[in-house]
Amino acid sequence: MRRLRLPKVLLSILAIVVAIVWAFPVYWMVSSSFIPTAILQSFIPTFFPVNGTLSNFTGAVADGSFFSALGMSVAVTLTAVVFCLLFAFLAAVAISRFRFRGRRSFLIAVLIVQMLPAEGLFIAQYKMVASVHLLDSVIGVSVIYVAAVVPFTIWMLRGFVAGVPADLEEAAMVDGLSRFGAFMRITFPLLAPGLVASGVYAFLQAWNEFTVALVLLPSEAAQTLPLWLRGFVQASATRETDWGQVMAASTLVAVPVIIFFLIVQGRLTSGLVSGAVKG
């Protein structure tokens, strides 16, 4: 007897409606960036770019500052992600595989550090970074970013490492592999989804970060993309906000992240699934 899948169908339609509503702002941003500002200025919103134009995009990147900001964002994000994963991974292995003195204190510290309000710390962070002449540099910002993201990443990876039974390593060692070799050959590959999930999280945090960058990257030449975008909006506001260019600029900042995200989203959801179980 075929049960009528009515509830499922109805719910699926509901899901699609919710999806449309939820993604609307993203659609709006992309669509508006193809509409000339003169049309956008009208009191009647335009929902679909009928006569699309690329002029907003060319205007937004006209003075080249976009590209230097892009370079800075890429440099900072890659540095932060690589070091964050490395440090967090080592720490997660230590926590999951060993019992050692200070382990509990370390765990508590890691948890508490996540709760420090960044808005109060930035003054001290500025002074510290300035005193070693690392303002406007990739290293200065990356150090702060890694420190900010490492705690959560350690927690995430801890669950993954703990989820791989050490017996597998023991078995490999019996077969003649060293401890290190066993780890690299057996455990490490099984951690891939966890590393991807953590990497994506770190990437997002670093790429989109605004507050710390605002303070540690004061010079125009050293801005990251979020700073560049805000500067763009403000400069635009002294005339009357050029919404077309602002939307185009916003799209340019969002697109790399969205694409990256869509590519890894398969790994990410599976990573989150395993993480949720172990975490």
Binding site: S12, R97, R99, G120, Q125, V150, G279
Partner: protein
């Protein structure tokens, strides 16, 4: 899970492994935190920026803080904002997670992609779009709402009163936070075994009872951590409020704790007070999450 016992040889390895993380945490967070604690006991203003030594006033800043009605108003607003927003985010996130597990594969994928798009949008990009959507003269939201018969939203200024300002902020934060919650809870839901659910259904339990009796207890760990994270993030929300203030009013009535501290520091140039308030916020955050931290640690020991 086997655990390496602390043999002579084994003691070294873990300490070396956690050393890089410790160094970076001390550098990035430890030193600033100490500076902050020290400064909260000093009178540190613009003059000190330019070299004048900072006199220690010990608990003066804290006393001033405790007796400042403006600050407690901001704390109250921030707590209210954080609790409301986190609660709404959690409810919507859970509903969407349930929805995801109950629909066809295609619909699920569509919904997930939409949520991913929202989640991956950089905050600054998202804020520019939302601010424009809520613009009083040209915003799409006023336009659409105005089309409802009987509702006059023409030129309604969403950012003109603190309440509507915070409502807008809340909507935006919920929009940005729900995807993470939905995905995490959905991940938890996939762990609920189908057999148990079917057995319950056969026993006559309706949807509601199944939810409360079976699903909820199983996903409780996920909900707990997600709720905690939301509370912490929503209490400290800064970027969204700051950018909304750029578009609306910079008046103190529109401050939550994040922008309040930022203003104290960089605009009113009273770093001593700003540090004291930051320590206060840290205290509140730890208080909010104390029980959870303890349970996490207990669970880890087990």
């Amino acid at each position: 899970m086997s655990i390496a016992t602390t043999r002579r040889r084994g003691i070294r390895a873990p300490h070396v492994l956690i050393l890089p993380a410790i160094v970076i945490l001390v550098l990035g967070m430890g030193y600033p935190l100490i500076w902050q604690v020290v400064t909260s006991f000093q009178k540190y203003g613009l003059q000190q920026q330019f070299g004048k030594p900072a006199p220690f006033v010990w608990f003066d800043n804290y006393v001033k803080l405790a007796t400042d009605p403006q600050l407690w108003l901001v704390v109250g607003k921030s707590l209210a904002f954080c609790l409301t927003t986190a609660a709404v985010t959690l409810v919507i996130g859970t509903l969407l997670a349930l929805l995801m597990s109950a629909v066809t594969k295609t619909a699920r994928l569509v919904l997930q992609i939409a949520l991913l798009l929202a989640w991956s949008m950089p905050v600054v990009s998202a804020m520019t779009v939302w601010i424009w959507l809520f613009d009083r003269r040209r915003g799409a939201i006023n336009y659409l709402l105005d089309m409802i018969p009987g509702v006059d939203m023409n030129r309604f200024d969403w950012l003109s009163t603190p309440l509507s300002f915070l409502l807008v902020a809340s909507i935006i934060v919920v929009w940005m936070s729900v995807p993470f919650v939905a995905f995490s809870i959905y991940a938890g839901l996939t762990q609920v075994s189908d057999e148990v659910m079917e057995a319950a259904q056969l026993d006559g339990a309706n949807g509601w009872q199944r939810f409360w009796g079976i699903i909820l207890p199983m996903i409780r760990p996920v909900i707990s951590i997600v709720l905690l994270l939301q509370l912490i993030w929503d209490l400290r929300v800064f970027t969204q409020i700051k950018l909304l203030q750029d578009a609306g009013s910079k008046s103190g009535d529109y401050d939550l704790l994040g922008t309040y501290i930022y203003k104290l520091g960089t605009s009113a140039q009273d770093f001593g007070m700003a540090s004291a308030v930051s320590i206060l916020v840290l205290g509140i955050t730890i208080a909010l999450s104390w029980f959870y931290i303890r349970s996490l640690l207990k669970e880890d020991e087990a």
